[in-house]
């Protein structure tokens, strides 16, 4: 059995804590609303940089990418989402060289785990913020990431000079 003073201190302590709670929600009532009015605010919508929405292969102005078609991303992918199709070329001095033919990415099976980007030795791929990925057919989810007629970026001139 609790003591009589304890009863009253419990009572008033309880009332005080309730009033504290009310004041917290009162402040919350006047805070800025955080809802994103999505289709209307497409222009001003801010997506976090680290958000992984879609795999992409950046190309520079000369339509060159950094993918050497080594296939490490394909091996690291847990879902078989990436298929690197390469072709073999013969260079002028008679060496055989592997080159990227098609880089196939199936958005439908991707879990956005980022393993491909982490494991890529030449930083050829990265995830972009382009999250509006809905399509009407599944086949449209399968994309080719390297652009038509693109080729491997040549090694940097600094490396050549050595």
């Amino acid at each position: 059995m609790r003591s009589f003073p304890q009863y009253f201190s419990d009572l008033f302590g309880g009332i005080r804590s309730l009033l504290t709670g009310l004041s917290v929600t009162w402040m919350e009532l006047w805070t800025k609303k955080v809802t994103q009015q999505y289709p209307e605010n497409r222009k001003t919508l801010v997506i976090s940089d680290r958000f992984r929405a879609e795999l992409s292969m950046p190309h520079d102005d000369n339509n060159e990418h950094a993918c050497t078609a080594c296939g490490i991303c394909q091996m690291n992918c847990p879902n078989g989402t990436i298929r690197v199709i390469s072709r073999t070329l013969e260079t002028d001095d008679g060496k055989k060289k592997r080159e990227l033919d098609r880089y196939i990415y199936d958005l439908g099976t991707c879990t956005f785990c980022n393993l491909c980007v982490i494991s890529c030795p030449s930083d050829a791929i990265k995830f972009t913020n382009n999250f509006e990925n809905a399509t009407f057919t599944r086949s449209k989810l399968v994309q080719q990431l390297n652009k038509e007629g693109s080729k491997l970026r040549a090694k940097k001139p600094v490396a050549k000079a050595e």
Binding site: L11, G21, L22, T25, E28, L29, K33, V34
Partner: protein
């Protein structure tokens, strides 16, 4: 003493005009018949309109408390959202549940609606806007609003579902307990006003609201009435009967379509009724703010029609109820009953005693300052 202030926008002018027009055209019986019909239709319409407005208001206020924007697609600021919801619920299928007690299952929602509907008869919405002014209005309100629990219990019993049953039983325990506190709080005010007639109660609060009139005792009674009112309406931190994490939806789990709509409607209307009774008994009802001797100011206040005052006061109380709902965590059933039986009830008993002493020794504010 009735002071004659000019009241240009009162609805009582319209009602008395209708009355005289009917009196001159028809024999007595038909006048009564048509007037009863009109009052009934007006109350039913008010019932539906208030529910629709309340649902919209609750969704908006809830959203603001959670830093959201709330319904904003149907119409400007989403004002037609509730109407769309009502239309949807009207055309939804009422699903037949196997092995329910058919008769009771279909009766239960009507009990809920009728209980809250009956209360509307005595609520003074404004000057002269009261269907019937009983001399035992307070008693009638408490009696009639207790009927709702029968609907809840029947719904739980007839649903053939253990969750419904547990929810209904919890609701029963909760309702019976808190009805006691609400009754005592109202009784404190009856002691203070010396009348049970709601119309007269409003009149006695002309210059001093009951909440101030009895000093601290009134304030305590007001707080207790609000707490037990929330508990009676199964809302706020007291929504145990439909604790969705434990009981899916409690007593209305098996209800669908319009039948569920009835429960939903009754819940919102009960919230309104609690606020309306609290406003009438504690905050002066439809009476505008009046200060003794300031005739110009009083006249100014009377230009605002009495029903605006009433709905304003009710609105403040409803906002408070929503505020409480989104501030406090839900109580456990044992905590709920502890709160009532170990705290509210003893406080209430002492409170009513103090109030009686205050009134008997002539220490109320109106007694001290003499009208």
């Amino acid at each position: 003493m009735i002071l004659n202030y000019s009241q240009p926008l009162e609805l009582s002018k319209l009602t008395s005009w209708i009355d005289t027009a009917l009196q001159s055209a028809l024999p007595g019986f038909w006048v009564l018949f048509i007037e009863l019909l009109l009052v009934g239709i007006a109350l039913l319409a008010a019932y539906a309109v208030i529910a629709i407005i309340l649902i919209y208001v609750e969704r908006k206020v809830t959203a603001f408390f959670q830093a959201r924007v709330g319904p904003n697609r149907v119409g400007k600021y989403g004002i037609f959202q509730t109407i769309a919801d009502v239309l949807k619920i009207l055309i939804k299928e009422i699903i037949q549940i196997n092995r329910v007690d058919k008769f009771l299952f279909f009766t239960a929602p009507f009990f809920m609606v009728v209980a809250s509907m009956l209360t509307f008869g005595v609520i003074p919405f404004g000057q002269g806007l009261q269907a019937i002014d009983f001399n035992i209005g307070v008693l009638y309100v408490t009696a009639v609003s207790s009927l709702g629990i029968i609907g809840v219990l029947l719904a739980g019993w007839s649903s053939n579902n253990k969750y419904s049953m547990i929810g209904a039983m919890r609701s029963g325990a909760q309702f019976v307990s808190y009805e006691l506190s609400a009754g005592f709080a109202l009784m404190t005010m009856v002691v203070l006003s010396g009348t049970m007639q709601l119309g007269e109660m409003v009149e006695t609060q002309r210059y001093c609201w009951n909440i101030f009139n009895g000093h601290l005792a009134s304030l305590v009674a007001f707080v207790i009435y609000l707490i037990s009112g929330h508990a009676e309406t199964n809302r706020g931190p007291f929504d145990l009967p439909e604790a969705e994490s434990e009981l899916t939806a409690g007593y209305h789990t098996e209800y669908s379509g319009l039948q569920f709509g009835f429960f939903y409607l009754a819940e919102y209307l009960n919230m309104f009724i609690i606020a309306a009774i609290a406003a009438t008994v504690f905050l002066g009802g439809w009476m505008p703010v009046q200060i003794w001797g300031w005739d110009a100011f009083n006249q100014l206040m009377w230009y605002i029609p009495s029903y605006v005052w009433f709905f304003g006061k009710v609105g403040v109380l409803i906002f408070f109820s929503l505020w409480v709902r989104w501030s406090f965590p839900r109580l456990r059933i044992d905590q709920l009953l502890n709160l009532e039986w170990k705290y509210l009830l003893p406080i209430n008993l002492v409170n009513i005693l103090i109030m009686v002493l205050i009134v008997l020794s002539g220490l109320t504010l109106t007694d001290i300052f003499g009208k």
